[in-house]
């Protein structure tokens, strides 16, 4: 009982203090005279976010400096970056990360559009969407256990058990535990083990894109669709010509968010990929492995900078797209 009371008090106090701070700030801003009042109000609206974000900006700057130093913190020039672009293993890490960005983003966004479209107004829509959402709610620890029941080479591994059903004597496959797959070396792109982990992440991410795209779909005014249909458009045409352009912004948003989340993929590589073994490493994983266990902070930092640079074009395209959409209205 005591612990529940304590919980409620802390939650209440935390939110109250927060609301009070915002309220007082806005009240103070309103006491000023123009033109300062407008400026102060802008500051109250954006300020808290900017203050919090310094918590990300400062580490990023420290990191940039680190990337030009070696493991003894001596000046190292661009050699960390040269290392990344020449070392064979590092190139695989980079290829893996790019595949992650493309495959998972494409698969989960397309899934999201398809489910949001066909489940919309369907009987049992909430149930179907809840089922797709289910994996998103499971913690990483839980996901690890679940997929162990799928990939494990032991008797309780689903894939191997299904494989054993084929006629004849079948050799047990060690998914994620060795570099060969049905007797074939998998040095082609991407490492087949990376692909197995991608399936898990698509399984988790689809819930996110479905929920967000579905929310946008509900925002499409009925009269638009009806007008199109009255003008003789088929379902397909109404969807591709009217609905899809209307929610294009959201789809791009979802794709961007997913790409960025996936480029940072880390936890699951640590658990399912055993810290990036058997060709499963990614940039974020390498960043951690170099930075902490291998004590080579400079190289880890260089990976982080590279990750940041990879995202810049995505953000740029996104910003331009937004601007174009705003001007089109």
């Amino acid at each position: 009982m005591l612990v529940i009371l304590k919980t409620l008090l802390t939650v209440g106090a935390g939110i109250l203090v927060f609301a009070a701070i915002l309220g007082v700030l806005y009240w103070l801003a309103s006491q000023l005279h123009e033109p300062w009042r407008e400026r102060a109000r802008v500051a109250v609206f954006v300020g808290p976010a900017i203050v919090l974000l310094t918590g990300l900006v400062l580490p990023a700057i420290i990191n940039l400096r680190l990337s030009f130093h070696d493991r003894n913190d001596d000046w190292y020039g661009f050699r960390n970056y040269v290392d990344i672009f020449t070392d064979e293993d590092n190139l695989l890490v980079m290829r893996n990360t790019l595949w992650w960005g493309v495959m998972v983003t494409l698969a989960s966004t397309v899934m999201g559009v398809i489910i949001a479209r066909y489940a919309d107004r369907m009987r049992g829509e909430p149930v179907a969407k809840a089922l797709i959402f289910l994996p998103t709610a499971i913690s990483m620890v839980g996901a690890g256990v679940i997929w162990n029941f799928v990939y494990s080479p032991k008797e309780y591994g689903l894939l191997n058990s299904m494989y054993q059903l084929l006629p004849g004597e079948q050799k047990t496959q060690f998914f994620l535990q060795e570099n060969t797959f049905f007797g074939i070396e998998n040095n082609f792109i991407p490492g087949i083990n990376t692909f197995f982990i991608m399936i898990v992440v698509i399984w988790i991410q689809a819930g996110f894109s479905t929920v967000v795209i579905s929310a946008a779909l509900k925002g499409v005014p009925d009269d638009l669709v009806e007008a199109a249909r009255i003008d003789g458009a088929t379902d397909r045409q109404a969807f591709y010509k009217v609905v899809l352009p209307y929610i294009k912004g959201t789809i791009i948003t979802v794709a961007t968010t997913t790409t960025i989340a996936v480029l940072k993929i880390f936890d699951i590589i640590q658990t399912m990929g055993k810290g990036g073994s058997f060709g499963t490493s990614t940039i974020a994983n390498e960043m951690y492995e170099q930075g902490f266990p291998q004590d080579n902070e400079g190289l880890g930092a260089a990976w982080a900078v590279l990750l940041f640079l990879l995202v810049v074009p995505i953000v740029f395209v996104n910003a331009r797209n937004q601007k174009a959409m705003r001007e089109a209205r």
Binding site: L53, P59, A119, W203, G249, I260
Partner: protein
């Protein structure tokens, strides 16, 4: 709200709406949705079934063999999780710790981000677009990179060390959730019809009035979906709580779960039940927020 829709000029649509709209979508599409939903559920179902099986069965046969003898169930895994003491504390303490961390850590960043998203969409100030692009760029800064510098700041004497570090965890979550929250909300709030905002402004409404009376109510679907995910990330987090929190008495359920498995060595079968115990609240949050994904909030505000 539908009552306020002005019929588009030239068409009298009043008798048609629901009938026509319902036809969008096809039997094949619906079948595909159910098939995908079923496929998506298979791994989770395996976990659910396993969580009710005795330890020996879990570790020796596949969960699908349960169908051959469906009476062979036990609650041992669940009682194992719930009765287990972690650092001398009952499991329920950790549940409440998670609640205590998760609610403010979900609410605070969303409120701050909504304010910022409004400013980036509808307030005019120098460098607005540039700052926004930089914030989106910050989405990529990986959490692992910021842990040590932030820890040094929070650990310094300038920062109060109150309530077993819980406010520190809130702040850390707010920081890490900020870029994506601003990005998602800005995309939604920025695409609200400018006619509505302009009209309010002409009527002399202040920013705060427009924000609370117009923008927030219209953004309910976006806010609801963001709330679900921010809550989910925070609820399932282990790393941030471990790094920024105090001792075991302030730690969330995820900590208790990992600790349980670590201390008891080979008892990973408890995780099958544990995964479901931690999943219940996020599912309730999702199901209860789902009804806010409502249609037609914008109806009548724009010319069709």
């Amino acid at each position: 709200m539908t009552a306020t829709i002005a019929p588009a000029p030239g068409h009298d649509l009043t008798p048609l709406p629901t009938k026509v709209a319902k036809k969008l979508g096809s039997p094949v599409g619906r079948a595909a949705v159910w098939m995908l939903a079923a496929l998506w559920t298979v791994p989770t179902m395996g976990l659910l079934i396993s969580s009710f099986r005795p330890e020996d069965d879990i570790k020796s046969t596949g969960w699908w063999t349960w169908f051959t003898e469906p009476t062979n169930v036990t609650l041992e895994n669940y009682s194992g999780v719930l009765e287990n003491k972690v650092n001398g504390l009952p499991f329920s303490d950790f549940f409440w710790n998670t609640v205590r961390i998760a609610i403010p850590a979900a609410v605070i960043p969303i409120v701050i981000a909504a304010f910022a998203a409004y400013a980036f969409s509808w307030m005019k100030f120098k460098g607005r677009d540039l700052i926004f692009v930089l914030i989106v760029g910050l989405m990529v800064v990986p959490l692992q990179m910021c842990l040590i510098p932030l820890l040094q700041f929070f650990g310094s004497s300038y920062f109060p060390d109150a309530l077993e570090g819980t406010p520190t965890i809130w702040l850390a979550h707010a920081i890490f959730g900020m870029p994506i929250a601003i990005f998602l909300l800005k995309n939604f709030i920025g695409s609200l019809p400018s006619e509505v905002i302009e009209a309010a402004r002409v009527d002399g409404a202040s920013h705060m009035t427009i924000f609370t009376r117009i923008v927030l109510p219209l953004s309910v679907p976006a806010l609801a979906s963001l709330a679900i995910f921010q809550f989910l990330w925070v609820w399932n987090d282990l790393l941030v709580a471990k790094v920024f929190g105090g001792g075991a008495e302030s730690q969330p359920m995820t900590f208790a779960m990992v600790d349980m498995v670590g201390n008891k060595g080979n008892e990973w079968q408890l995780l099958t039940a544990g995964a479901f115990v931690t999943m219940i609240v996020p599912l309730i949050v999702f199901l209860s927020l789902q009804r806010y994904f409502v249609r037609g909030l914008l109806a009548g505000s724009v010319k069709g």
